[in-house]
């Protein structure tokens, strides 16, 4: 079986065209990450001594690490006079002021406000906010207990445990992770590549009418179908993981740092109500795995659709249309509070901040299940159902069928000759 899977993998995916598309998409992805950095980060303004980039990293040495009262006082002692001086917008707009770090008083205030004061304020206050949530969850649990709402009691208990220990102790650069976690483009590339890769899994033999021949083979039929599914799964998971790795390396390379990996996930503002307590580097790994699950599920659905096509045309367009529907509905519904819509759409696993960015639950048999857990279970179930359907709808091995027919004929022949022998002896 392993050999069969290996052969199928080589046959289907070790092709020049796939390799070319694979490399091309990786390069496009890197270009896009570079453009994200230049479009969105204020630190992409060169390496001049008065650039924000240089000034930020010079100041960073003073403030990184544990947030202490001294650091806060020191930061405010620089920031507050600038904020006061620029409050009425009458300060000089000169861009070559030698007393200023960036040459301009407004620019100095802006860099400090955006990159130091606001994040540090958020980090510092996060513990209080989280405690507030934990307290409210505790009160809620008591209220619901009085009213006999067991699911709500359990839900609030989970929230209490999730938020009660939360705090951000260290200050670090989190901008790179912010953009990394909000980056969706590679997910689309992965989907395209997987669609291209898996579409010919069943179709290539039908186009050349080799599928009939395959059925006469001892390893053909269901066994080959299973090997094809296994090879396709291996391919799509590898592609998803590869692009996650390229994303991470790309972001680290273009932003020029991997600082901030040890911050908790909720240090990124969009994840202030994150569904899990883990560090950013751990979430990068978790995200890659979850994305691979999402891509796998979608690919299995693609494969199932392609099983019914005689050429690649209709399955490709149908799969492409289905992928567009998943993407458009997933992206447009991501901000709404209907958790079920997020759970049943595998796109949520691809852009998994939709699931991990908020603490949301569904009620399942009296137990609160977090949306990401439900989405993973749903995606794996959908994938397994697709595989089962493919196994059911794929043709049975004709070799066995021929052999059975032959052996039955032989038995019948033996019986007939025995009968004639018997009658002649009589």
């Amino acid at each position: 079986m392993t050999r069969l899977i290996k052969y199928e993998f080589y046959k289907l995916f070790c092709k020049r065209s796939i390799l070319v598309v694979f490399l091309l998409f990786s390069v496009i992805n890197l270009f896009k990450i570079n453009s994200e950095f230049h479009s969105y980060s204020y630190l992409a303004d060169g390496n001049d001594s008065r650039s924000w980039n240089r000034v930020y990293w010079q100041l960073y040495e003073d403030y990184k690490g544990e947030i202490t009262a001294e650091k806060i006082d020191h930061l405010l002692s620089i920031y507050q006079p600038l904020a006061d001086a620029t409050a009425d917008m009458t300060a000089s707009t000169a861009k070559d002021n030698p007393d200023m770090m960036t040459g301009n008083i407004y620019s100095d205030r802006n860099i400090l406000e955006k990159y130091y004061v606001e994040p540090m304020e958020y980090f510092y206050h996060y513990r209080t906010y989280a405690l507030q949530v934990a307290e409210r969850a505790k009160e809620n649990a008591a209220v619901y207990k009085e009213r006999g709402q067991i699911v709500e009691v359990r839900k609030n208990s989970v929230i209490y445990h999730l938020y009660s220990g939360r705090s951000i102790k260290d200050f670090a650069y989190e901008e790179m992770y912010n953009y990394y976690l909000n980056y969706d483009f590679s997910g689309i590339l992965v989907l395209f590549l997987c669609l291209y890769g898996v579409i010919s899994t069943f179709v290539c033999e039908k186009e050349t009418q080799m599928d009939m021949l395959l059925l006469t083979n001892p390893g053909g039929g269901k066994m080959t179908t299973f090997a094809k599914i296994a090879a396709a799964s291996l391919f799509v998971i590898s592609v998803a993981i590869w692009f996650s790795v390229v994303d991470y390396i790309g972001f680290v390379y273009f932003f020029g740092t991997a600082e901030g990996g040890n911050l908790p996930l909720y240090a990124v503002r969009n994840f202030s109500t994150a569904a899990v307590n883990c560090k950013l580097w751990q979430y990068a790994i978790l995200s890659a795995v979850i994305r691979a699950v999402g891509v796998w599920t979608m690919s299995m659905v693609f494969l199932l659709i392609s099983l019914f096509g005689h050429s690649a045309l209709v399955p490709f367009v149908a799969d492409f249309g289905a992928a567009l529907c998943f993407i458009i509905t997933g992206a447009s519904q991501s901000c709404f509070s209907n958790t079920w819509l997020k759970i049943i759409n595998p796109y949520s696993l691809l852009a998994n901040r939709i699931l991990f960015g908020k603490t949301e639950f569904i009620d399942f048999a009296g137990y609160p299940v977090q949306s990401f857990q439900a989405a993973i279970i749903f995606a794996i179930t959908a994938g397994v159902i697709s595989i089962t359907a493919m196994m059911m709808f794929s043709k049975r091995n004709s070799y066995i069928f021929c052999w059975m027919v032959k052996s039955r004929r032989r038995t019948r022949g033996t019986f007939m000759s025995a009968l004639s022998n018997e009658s002649s002896s009589h």
Binding site: K114, A134, T273, S311, I328, A331
Partner: protein, 669 residues
């Protein structure tokens, strides 16, 4: 039958070309009908009133029309002021009924079209920014027709389905070699090309005409000769063209875009001889630039995508200020005419080269003299594409309950209180004194100041409240549509404290999906300004400053009701009670859409309960009366002149005019 007809038959029947063409046109029409919303909802709602003014100022903004509008604004403001004082005088019996009626008729004449005036005045303000090239006209039709810069996915998928099998079907069964040995082999490819180009031109033209017909029928497309800058989407365009010219140009560009995509697909199918690679290249060549590149960049690339979109070749620069630094940032740089012609020229050249190569590739074997030449042609096309890509890039179910919007609620043993400091709503248990926040989610409003409760409505055992949540990827400068504001209606069961979201909408008209910006119209904008609401089994009624909007919970259809929202609004599950512009109590039946005026009830204020209407009579010196819902059985409740009245299940609360104190009157009184 000629070879051409055989090809037509093969493509249209055997390869289901006709079926796909019909499907694209049908789905295109259905999608157009389902997805369309007027961009300016007020212009559509007060169409007649707006047209009344439009007739007077239609066209360029002249000094006369400007003067007329300014004078009209003043006249309306004065008439409103006069109307108020007239009513006061009449009810205070300072003027007679005949005098009142005479004057109010004149005032009504002035205010007859005031809703339309507000729309035209907004348009006037827009035109004043650059009166030289902007005109007064009905814009909804033109905005729908021209102002949607999004890709027509149905047409795109249709082209993929129709064009790909033309060559690929022959390659898949290796009939291509057989055709090459035939006498008319070369002509076969030419026929295919011609048929496909004709099909795509037909599809694009049909879709353009369908859109034209749809918008002409639904909103009207008048004054096509006015400058394109008259509609906001093209506000800063430097192109000197009329709306109709704009429509024709965009239509032609889209047709060329379709042809470009067709030739690209055929080129790839002849080059690769595979379905999958052809389809992938077709899909990727459109989708990846669409999602991955900025609009400024891909509108300068010789690819099918910019031509398929078409619209933004004629829009002007879009410049925004950076929220942090205040620097100007170009969101979209206008494509100047020279760039457009260059791009068109390069694209036509690439198409021609691709066509020549396709024909040479499909020449009869004996005609081909040198194999190197065809490689050269491929190289030229590929090199051209690569060069163009790099070189042309730019730079830059509820039970009924009586609702009074002015009443203070006491529901099921809970008192609703609002924190004056942070405006948070909470429920206070009147017996134990415990308080519970409305929003049951412990996270609500903790991490963000942009999560707040706007209004509430009680219908025991449920409490409904609306939340407004604003989310944004704050650090994403340049992505200005990443701000999301959503308004939700949440149902809270006061017995179990279970909550459920029953309605949710995003209110932004400018939205972004995977970096693609699009407009949805201002259909839900009113939700941002609502301050109270109530509901029945199938509709929600949001009270804003300028009236009540009815929303069907299931279909999402919105209707602005002609009800002034400046006093108390009551609802008993079937009818809305309100004071009309003259202060006369009026009832509007929500299911029958009928209005009934209680001619004899002129009220300063009123409230209702299940059986009665309590009102502070304006004509009887501020006395408090009660009457049945039908207006009969009028009874005096209190002689004390009152300013306002509210009630709950047991008492009536009256605010005394003289002492300014609240007086509690038991209902049995």
């Amino acid at each position: 039958m000629s070879g051409f007809m055989y090809e037509v038959k093969k493509i249209m029947l055997w390869q289901r070309g006709l079926f796909y063409i019909a499907l694209v046109l049908l789905l295109g029409m259905v999608w157009l009908a389902l997805s369309d919303n007027p961009v300016d909802i007020a212009m559509e709602q007060y169409k007649n009133e707006y047209e009344w003014y439009l007739e007077k100022v239609n066209g360029y903004c002249t000094e006369e029309s400007s003067l007329y509008l300014e004078q009209e604004a003043e006249r309306i403001a004065k008439a409103k002021e006069r109307q108020n004082s007239l009513l006061e005088n009449y009810y205070d019996k300072k003027i007679s009924e005949s005098e009142y009626k005479k004057e109010s008729r004149e005032i009504e004449k002035v205010l007859e079209h005031q809703n339309g005036f507000e729309v035209i005045y907004q348009q006037y303000l827009y035109i004043c920014e650059n009166a030289g090239n902007r005109c007064f006209l009905q814009t909804n039709g033109w905005m729908g027709l021209l102002g949607k810069g999004t890709l027509n996915f149905i047409l795109f998928l249709g082209i993929l389905l129709i064009v790909t099998p033309v060559f690929c079907s022959e390659y898949s069964c290796q009939m291509d070699t057989l055709i090459l040995t035939a006498r008319k082999g070369r002509k076969s490819a030419l026929y295919k090309l011609l048929i496909m180009i004709a099909v795509v031109l037909f599809l694009s033209l049909s879709i353009s005409l369908i859109e034209y017909g749809f918008y002409r029928f639904k909103y009207g497309l008048p004054d096509g000769d006015y400058p394109i800058q008259s509609i906001r989407y093209f506000a800063d365009s430097s192109k000197d063209m009329s709306l109709l010219e704009g429509y024709v140009s965009i239509g032609l560009l889209r047709m060329f875009g379709g042809v470009f995509l067709t030739i690209l697909l055929m080129f790839i199918s002849v080059l690769t001889k595979k379905y999958t690679l052809t389809l992938l290249t077709g899909a990727v060549s459109v989708m990846i630039p669409y999602i991955g590149l900025s609009k400024t960049s891909f509108y300068r690339l010789p690819l099918p995508l910019p031509f398929l979109l078409g619209t933004d070749f004629f829009t002007g620069d879009i410049v925004m200020n950076d929220a942090l630094t205040g620097d100007e940032k170009i969101i979209f740089a206008e494509v100047d005419t020279v760039t457009l012609w260059t791009l068109l020229f390069v694209s036509v050249l690439l198409c021609t080269l691709a066509v020549v190569w396709i024909l040479r590739r499909n020449s009869n074997r004996w005609l081909i003299k040198s194999g190197q030449k065809k490689c050269g042609a491929v190289f030229v096309v590929m090199f051209g594409l690569a060069l163009a890509v790099t070189g042309c890039a730019g730079r830059g179910k509820k039970g009924s309950v009586v609702y009074n919007s002015s009443a203070v609620y006491d529901c099921m043993g809970y008192e609703i209180i609002r924190d004056e400091g942070n405006f948070d709503y909470s429920l206070k248990n009147t017996s134990t004194g415990e308080t519970y926040p409305f929003a049951r989610s412990p996270m609500f409003g903790v991490f963000s100041d942009d999560e707040k409760i706007c209004a509430f409505y009680v219908c025991p055992p449920y409490l409904y409240y609306t939340t407004s949540v604003m989310e944004s990827y704050v650090n994403r400068v340049g992505n200005y549509n990443s701000n999301i504001t959503k308004v939700s209606v949440v149902e809270l069961n006061l017995n179990t404290f279970e909550e459920k979201t029953i309605f949710e909408q995003m209110t932004n008209s400018g939205r972004s999906l995977l970096g693609i910006d699009y407009e949805t119209g201002d259909k839900w904008k009113f939700l941002d300004f609502h301050h109270a609401f109530f509901l029945n089994d199938d509709s929600l009624f949001f009270i804003g400053n300028d009236g009540i909007t009815k929303v069907n919970q299931y279909t999402g259809k919105t209707v602005k009701l002609d009800i002034p929202a400046n006093g108390n609004i009551s609802f008993d599950g079937e009818s809305i009670f309100y004071k009309n512009e003259q202060g006369v109590l009026t009832r509007y039946d929500v299911s029958g859409n009928e209005t009934y005026t209680y001619e004899n009830i002129v009220a300063y204020d009123f409230c209702i309960d299940e059986q009665s209407i309590y009102y502070v009579s304006r004509t009887d010196g501020g006395d408090l009366y009660s009457c049945g819902k039908d207006g009969n059985h009028k009874e005096l409740v209190s002689h004390i002149p009152a300013m306002s009245v509210t009630c709950d299940t047991e008492n009536i609360y009256v605010l005394s005019k003289e002492s300014g104190e609240e007086i509690v009157l038991p209902k049995s009184h």
